[in-house]
């Protein structure tokens, strides 16, 4: 399957080599690195050169006209600087944003503030307003909300490939006809947390980094942000904006090898590049330049070299890593380097691989001289921990046909919900709760865990926090129930990720200082650890991403799967929602007003769901399933009118009317403010349709909506609704459920609508 190219009609960039495209281009042409001694981050590790953005947080606020007292994070501030440039270039005004999507990638989120104020969070009331900006999703929202109200927003968190995967999701959204314009990219500041984390893994070079060099000894950390405006050809023509370049292909694959190391043969990298070429309908020989991931670690560069050699043999095209210019800008590297690639296409040059002197054994030979060259197609690689490997294929602007042709292939097909398994504060991996739910009268409780011995060996378990073990158990049980060995894609949502290990690492950093930190804690603190470990354990090289956007993390994962099913890209997928909570973090979040307000019960939830297309569902020997997913919509900060319209479209698309919906499953949780909104909105939208709830049994968690999905699917399967789920006992009628609409309102503003049918 090939795609019609998508236009890139704007871009903005901030990194160690400059603010904005002009400075960036000048530095690239001049071969001027932005890596140098550490200046802005307060850390003991002065021995490591870094690629910092040459502004303090206060200077960024000043540039942006933001009050110095405003609650913000460095990741959000850099994001705003880059986003402003991109929106301006694409001539996008505030009034247009409700029609525009915003998809950002980050891993660090607001960790720069959490690591400064962690002891305050634990012991007193100071700085508690920063608790709400700890997570990845908050940073995206702060960045986006400065410019207006985008119609869709989510956050990818796949470590160092986050921004590349944000670009891929945006492209899928446009190809599905869900939006004409999507702003995509990522932002990440340097923090003590990951500087020390990378140091504990011993992959930081105390010298300037030397990708693909025989003497390479690790990476230099960098920071920055970049956003691209992706746009359909019709929209750009209608608006009269020019394409800067074209996104003509992309690939995402999982190395499924090791949490922090790439496979010797570069399996994930090879597959990602190959997929990008296939989607673009191009041959390897059509590529004029590759911007390598090239971090400078012995492992990455060896593995990436192998992947290139597998694709090209000995005739690899010109390659360079631009990491010596900027340092490794981690989550933002995918979009920052995509901007570099566009600049090379526009200006006809190849950026040099700085600091390279000696060929490495079995490695590729990078560009050492600045070269002028007319380019048509370039590949841009971004790989992340856990083997989340992505590759983007960017081409020089040419006349594009409109995208009608491809849009016609996007039809709404029901997706089969084949199986779903949960671990929570109810009986784990069981449907016993439907007859005998456990009732809690404590505000917070941790999950009831099964024995994990059947799912992970002791040697594997030694490096798995609870959240990871639960993900393994639910995933393996869901696959077994689905009678499947594996799936085409693993898509996971987690609001806060591996909280337990993040807490251990923050504790050590705050109490014992920046020495002797445990690598095991750090490597489990990235959000994509869950999804990539599931891939490793099920030997899955397919599409693999992680969403981390507060209460819509699971919904975002489901949205991604939904679009790819519509595109015909997926036949099967595992969609997961996983969040754990510790006593300490529960108290921090309660203090920050994020959880545990009023009568809300907080828990932990792990849900793994196997979805399949009709064909893949039916081709099994026992084609059983729980229910059908017939429509899904995720709305960003919608008004009541927008929700009304979305409900109408949703029902229409699956040939239903409001009277066909038997029950509305809500996320009513005991939080008075939210619950009131649920009552008012559902009354306006659905009149007297009986309301159900599940969070009083399973507890609130960032991905509790995944539990809601599981609950509705089980009710449809068994054909009854347990009495305990009714919000109002007067509405118990014994009516068999045939159609349930899940109405999920999260973080007080985002709404998702899921239509499940028997």
């Amino acid at each position: 399957m090939t795609m019609e190219p998508i236009l890139i009609t704007g871009m903005g960039v901030v990194s160690a080599i400059g603010l904005g495209k002009a400075q960036t281009l000048e530095a690239l042409l001049a071969g001027r690195s932005g890596v140098g001694p550490l200046k802005y981050l307060k850390t003991e590790h002065k021995e490591f050169p870094v690629g910092e953005v040459k502004l303090t947080d206060a200077e960024m606020c000043e540039r942006l006209g933001i009050s110095l007292d405003a609650v913000t994070t460095r990741t959000a501030l850099m994001g705003m600087l880059a986003l402003e440039e991109a929106l301006n270039e694409a001539k996008l005004t505030q009034e247009m944003l409700p029609q525009v999507g915003f998809i950002s990638g980050t891993t660090v989120g607001g960790m720069d503030m959490s690591e400064q104020y962690y002891l305050d969070y634990l012991h007193n009331e100071a700085h508690k307003e920063y608790i709400a900006v700890h997570d990845c999703g908050s940073c995206s929202e702060m960045t986006a909300n400065r410019f207006g109200k985008f119609g869709f927003s989510t956050t990818l968190s796949t470590a160092c490939s986050s921004a590349a995967n944000a670009i891929i999701l945006g492209a899928n959204m446009i190809r599905c006809g869900e939006a004409d314009i999507v702003v995509v990219g990522g932002s990440e500041c340097i923090t003590k947390f990951h500087l020390n984390g990378f140091n504990s893994l011993m992959i930081l070079d105390p010298q300037p980094c030397r990708p693909f060099d025989a003497t390479r000894h690790g990476l230099n950390l960098g920071e920055g942000a970049a956003y691209l405006v992706l746009e359909s050809a019709e929209s750009a023509a209608k608006r009269g904006v020019k394409a800067q370049a074209l996104l003509s292909g992309y690939g995402n694959a999982c190395d499924a090898f090791h949490q922090t190391a790439s496979s010797p043969e570069g399996e994930g990298a090879y597959r990602a590049m190959k997929e990008a070429l296939e989607l673009a309908g191009l041959q390897p020989t059509d590529i004029d330049y590759i911007n390598a991931h090239g971090t400078g670690t012995p492992n990455n560069d060896a593995s990436e070299s192998q992947a290139m050699k597998r694709l090209y043999g000995e005739n690899v095209p010109p390659i360079s890593s631009t990491k010596p210019f900027t340092g490794h800008t981690t989550s933002a590297s995918g979009s920052i380097e995509a901007v570099f690639c566009i600049l090379t296409l526009q200006n006809g040059f190849l950026p040099v691989n700085l600091n390279w002197t000696q060929a490495m054994e079995d490695g590729i030979m990078p560009l050492t001289q600045p070269t002028k060259k007319d380019l048509n197609h370039v590949l841009c690689n971004a790989f992340g921990f856990g083997g989340n490997d992505s590759s983007l294929l960017i081409s020089k602007t040419r006349d594009c046909e409109t995208q009608d042709k491809e849009q016609k292939t996007c039809i709404t097909n029901p997706i089969y919900v084949v199986s779903a398994k949960q671990i929570s504060i109810q009986q784990p991996l069981s449907e016993e709760w439907m007859d005998q739910p456990i009732e809690y009268n404590v505000p917070f409780t941790r999950s009831i865990d099964p024995s994990f011995k059947d799912y992970v060996s002791p040697i594997e378990a030694r490096r798995m926090g609870k959240i990871l073990k639960r993900a393994m158990a639910t995933s393996k049980e869901a696959l077994k129930a689905a009678q499947m060995e594996t799936v085409d894609a693993i898509i996971t949502g987690t609001g806060y990720g591996c909280v337990e290990n993040t807490e251990y690492f923050l504790d050590a950093l705050s109490n014992e200082g920046e020495q002797l930190l445990k690598p095991t804690y750090f490597m489990q603190s990235t959000h994509n650890t869950i999804s990539s470990l599931v891939a490793m354990q099920t030997k899955n090289h397919g599409y693999n991403v992680t969403y981390s956007h507060k209460g819509i993390s699971f919904d975002s994962a489901l949205q991604d799967a939904w679009w790819q099913f519509q595109l015909g890209k997926l036949g099967t997928a595992m969609v997961g929602g996983h969040d754990e909570m510790t006593e300490t973090f529960y108290h921090i979040l309660k203090k920050g007003g994020i959880m545990g307000q009023d009568e809300e019960l907080c828990g932990e939830t792990a849900v793994s769901i196997v979805l399949a297309s009709a064909r893949r569902c039916e081709e099994r020997s026992h084609p059983e399933y729980l229910c059908k997913l017939t429509a899904f919509r995720l709305l960003h900060q919608p008004t009541m009118d927008v929700i009304k319209e979305a409900v109408k479209e949703l029902l229409h698309s699956s040939g239903k009317t409001l009277t066909d919906v038997d029950y509305i499953l809500t996320g009513i949780s005991g939080n008075h403010h939210n619950d009131q909104a649920y009552h008012e909105e559902t009354k306006t939208l659905f009149g007297k349709t009986p309301l159900l709830r599940y969070k009083h049994l399973f507890g609130e968690s960032f991905t509790a909506s995944g539990m809601g999905f599981y609950v509705a699917a089980q009710c449809l399967k068994v054909g009854r609704i347990p009495d305990q789920l009714f919000v109002d006992v007067k509405q118990i009628t014994g009516k068999q459920p045939r159609c349930i609409l899940i109405y999920n309102r999260s973080d007080g503003k985002n709404v998702s609508l899921t239509l499940l049918e028997a």
Partner: protein, 85 residues
């Protein structure tokens, strides 16, 4: 030396979170990586932290660890010769 070997085994079990193991389960002469216990590169990094924290031995290069971390007996020998605490 026997006492150091026993303590070291306890520390390895704790550091690497080998939940179900006891010092008796580890053969001090068996290889820790690959065949024997099946440890990997992350465990090697954890052992580097262990060496510095408990014995004041600083290893700068993970490759250096490969020689030293052959078996519990080899590590104990290295500690005995190089410890600063």
């Amino acid at each position: 030396m026997d006492e150091l070997i026993y303590t070291l085994k306890q520390q390895i079990i704790e550091t690497l979170n080998l939940e179900d193991m006891t010092p008796e389960d580890i053969d001090e002469n068996a290889s820790l990586f690959g065949e024997g216990l099946g440890l990997d590169s992350i465990d090697a990094l954890e052992l580097i932290v262990l060496m510095e924290k408990n014995y004041g031995i600083k290893l700068q290069d993970p490759n250096q660890g490969k020689e030293i971390f052959k078996s519990v007996a080899v590590i104990a020998d290295y500690i005995a010769k190089n410890r600063t605490k």
